[in-house]
């Protein structure tokens, strides 16, 4: 039953990550992405699958979905007909979920009845299909071919069902669309589900594909950088868009131990709230950001001094980065001077609904590999930054890391991860 919940008198379960799948413009899978993020590689190129010639900005971090990605899709339980119907977003989602599932060693029971909640974040869902639908409806209004299929597959919950079909399991689907905080909220909500005893295992993540409408939207706001995306740099002039997906398998520590699973990291804290300052602009002093980071730290039972690295939201826009810099500096206090911070959006762009999930996986990677992800291009820190920005690849001893995600509409989310030893 979703309500009332049966409350357990036993201590809150600890939640661990046992699998993580990721696909970005750096490549498909953990290995390619870990190598890319560790070196601070940048993955931007001219937009190729829609016409960006009339836009102010013409580059983005596009994912290559040709082979071997197609081969990986064919290795799932999806039929070739289902695969052919997937749009870019759904393909990336399924690929990330399949990788996480395999890494975790989770198995379906063969009849598809395994009940595992799926919590996903997205901002655009199947917008690419929506765009095709709209163009056909306008340009060829009497032509009905494939419109019914598009009107179904466009919906995020239908794309989520593809994950279940691909893995051979089922469960309740929750699609969170808190704009660019969606992916982090999805991971956080999954953490809540496990902690509250509603589930022992949850698949959680986020996905979003580049599309003409959203690209033009950010371009129209002049939020896209016409030069280079440089989060927290005093001369920053905007964000860069990307696309991708990440899915993690979260489960109770007991469940992981019973299975003898390899534990990648522990999720120890989650905070979320809403900044009511403006639809698209954060509070200049980052008051909600600060509150959410404090909430996540309190949930994790740590002080800000315990944080070894922050993966910032760090979009590269003037307003976001100054607001977040104020909040991080305030949170860390005297510790700020020793708290390394970076934004991996400098490497793969802003992945919108996928951003929080991909960055959560990056945090797990840093804890596993004991390295800090740099921003290759960074010159002059914003004066609000009282903390160092990581600009060169380097190893570091990391026990606790925090990831920030904020969205249009004001939802802020922070996640805390701890190294598993």
């Amino acid at each position: 039953m979703l309500f009332p919940l049966t409350k357990s008198s036993s201590p809150l379960p600890r939640v661990v990550v046992t699998g993580a799948g990721v696909i970005t413009a750096l490549g498909q899978g953990w290995k390619a992405n870990a190598e890319g993020f560790r070196l601070g590689k940048r993955a931007f190129r001219p937009v190729s699958f829609f016409d960006a010639s009339r836009n102010r900005v013409k580059v983005a971090a596009e994912v290559d979905l040709a082979e071997p990605a197609l081969a990986a899709l064919r290795a799932t339980k999806l039929t070739s007909r289902q695969i052919n119907r997937l749009d870019r977003g759904a393909k990336m989602l399924v690929l990330a979920a399949q990788e996480a599932w395999q890494q975790a060693g989770w198995q379906s029971n063969g009849n598809g009845s395994e009940n595992i909640p799926l919590v996903l974040g997205t901002t655009a869902g199947g917008m690419l299909l929506g765009e095709v639908y709209y163009k056909q409806a306008i340009r060829e209004p009497k032509k009905m071919r494939q419109q019914a299929t598009r009107s179904v597959l466009y919906q995020p919950q239908v794309q989520a069902r593809m994950v279940y079909d691909a893995l051979g399991c089922t469960g309740p689907i929750t699609v969170v669309s808190n704009a660019c905080a969606s992916g982090a909220n999805a991971v956080g909500h999954a953490w809540d589900l496990i902690r509250s005893g509603q589930a022992e295992r949850v698949l959680a993540g986020g996905y979003d594909a580049l599309c003409e409408m959203v690209f033009s939207g950010f371009d129209s706001l002049q939020a896209l950088s016409p030069t280079v995306c440089r989060p927290f740099d005093a001369r920053r002039d905007g964000l860069a868009l990307g696309e991708g997906a990440a899915v993690m398998t979260l489960e109770t520590l007991d469940s992981a131990r019973k299975r003898g699973a390899e534990i990648l990291a522990e999720v120890t804290g989650y905070g979320t709230s809403i900044d009511q300052h403006h639809l698209t602009q954060p509070h200049p002093q980052g008051s909600t950001t600060l509150a959410v980071m404090k909430q996540a730290c309190a949930n994790a039972g740590i002080t800000p001094q315990d944080i070894d690295y922050i993966n910032a939201h760090g979009t590269g826009t003037v307003l976001n980065d100054s607001s977040e810099a104020f909040a991080i500096s305030e949170l860390a206090g005297a510790h700020a001077a020793e708290l390394p911070v970076s934004s991996t959006k400098a490497s793969v762009g802003h992945l919108l609904g996928a951003a929080g999930a991909v960055e959560a996986v990056v945090c797990v990677m840093t804890l596993r590999g004991q390295w800090l992800p740099p921003q290759e291009i960074f010159e002059t820190p914003d004066p609000a930054c009282k903390f160092p920005i990581i600009t060169r690849p380097r190893d570091s001893r990391l026990n606790t890391v925090l990831s920030n995600s904020f969205g249009f509409g004001g939802v802020n989310a922070s996640l805390v991860f701890r190294r598993w030893t």
Partner: protein, 341 residues
């Protein structure tokens, strides 16, 4: 176990901008008149049921955040304000920490189509004022700003059955003492493309717009005499579990409460869409309310209307218990039961 109550309900529908108009239309039990919506490139317009203009301009529309907001935000705001009115009028309920869960299926389609149309014509001149209003989270953000003391907010997207996931989420936040009251709103607006898409799947669909809201609370002294008793599991539709099986599994989790109970179902006028739910409830012998028959296919708004109708039936003494049956199009079946507190 923490108890969760309903402190208020709100509705915007093709009948008007409040629960009274909604209730009156339900009582008449006659489908509301349809309007014609032109579809580009077609001679024949699409039938829809739109929300009429309010008799007087609501005061909340003067809020700076709502100046450019799309109709879905106006509907959601109105329903939420009506649902929370009793709490706001209660001096003992000042400064409550509010939660807000907004549930949508199609979301902000009017501005989305407008912006994409501008993009296709020339992205260089597409309006930056319109784009932010296209995101699913825009109505949530505006309504939170209007309410001011919202500390926790989610936007959920799914088929209409996910409205009850939103109610369950709000109840969870209350149970865990993260908020003191939680507004759960389901809202939709319509335009030609949504109506067009719906008719590909169901030729008889008459799309409608509006919103419905519940204000949930933990404190019984704030309640409107209604308690949330049960929300069933989410019975997901899969290759192994069709809509009929999912609907039956949901029905089995709702206990009978005797003769004086009512069912708020999602039946409309489509034998195809409604068949799974009909099969699950074919032996139901008590009273039944079917808002979609009156107001049309309001998608997430219609799911919220079912909950509003169920709660209202208890509030006005028509029933002591009310079941809500949500058999979604392509996601899941979920049911709920409200009882007199």
């Amino acid at each position: 176990m923490s108890r969760v109550f309903v402190a208020g309900i709100g509705a915007v529908s093709p009948a008007g901008w409040n629960v009274a108009a909604f209730r009156e239309a339900l009582a008449k039990n006659e489908p509301l008149p349809e309007q014609s919506l032109p579809r580009p490139g077609w001679e024949k317009p699409l039938p829809v049921r739109t929300v009429p203009n309010p008799a007087t301009r609501p005061e909340f529309l003067a809020h700076p955040r709502l100046r450019r907001a799309s109709p879905i935000t106006h509907y959601a705001a109105s329903a939420v304000l009506e649902a929370i009115a009793a709490i706001r009028a209660n001096p003992a309920a000042k400064n409550l920490r509010l939660g807000l869960v907004a549930c949508l299926q199609s979301g902000c389609v009017q501005y989305t189509c407008r912006f994409y149309d501008e993009t296709l014509k020339n992205p260089a001149t597409a309006s930056p004022l319109v784009f932010p209003e296209t995101v699913y989270a825009a109505p949530t953000s505006h309504v939170a700003a209007l309410l001011e003391n919202v500390v926790l907010a989610y936007s959920l997207v799914g088929d209409p059955s996910s409205f009850l996931q939103g109610v369950a989420l709000g109840a969870e936040w209350l149970t865990e003492n993260r908020v003191d009251a939680c507004l759960v709103v389901g809202a939709e607006e319509t335009n030609w493309i949504i109506s067009d898409a719906a008719r590909h799947l169901d030729g008889s669909a008459v799309i409608s717009a509006g919103a419905g809201a519940l204000c949930l609370c933990r404190d019984q002294s704030l309640a409107a005499g209604i308690e949330l008793k049960t929300i069933t599991d989410a019975h997901t539709v899969t290759a192994q579990t069709d809509r009929v099986s999912a609907a039956k599994a949901m029905r089995q989790q709702l206990e009978s409460n005797g003769a004086n109970e009512i069912l708020a179902d999602g039946s409309g006028i489509s034998s195809r869409t409604d068949s799974a739910e009909r099969a699950a409830w074919n032996d139901w012998a008590h009273a039944r309310i079917s808002p979609k028959r009156i107001f049309g296919e309001g998608m997430m708004a219609a799911a919220a209307w079912q909950c509003v109708a169920a709660c209202d039936a208890i509030a006005v003494g028509r029933a002591t218990a009310a079941n809500v049956s949500l058999v979604g199009f392509n996601q899941q079946a979920i049911g709920a039961q409200f009882v007199r507190a």
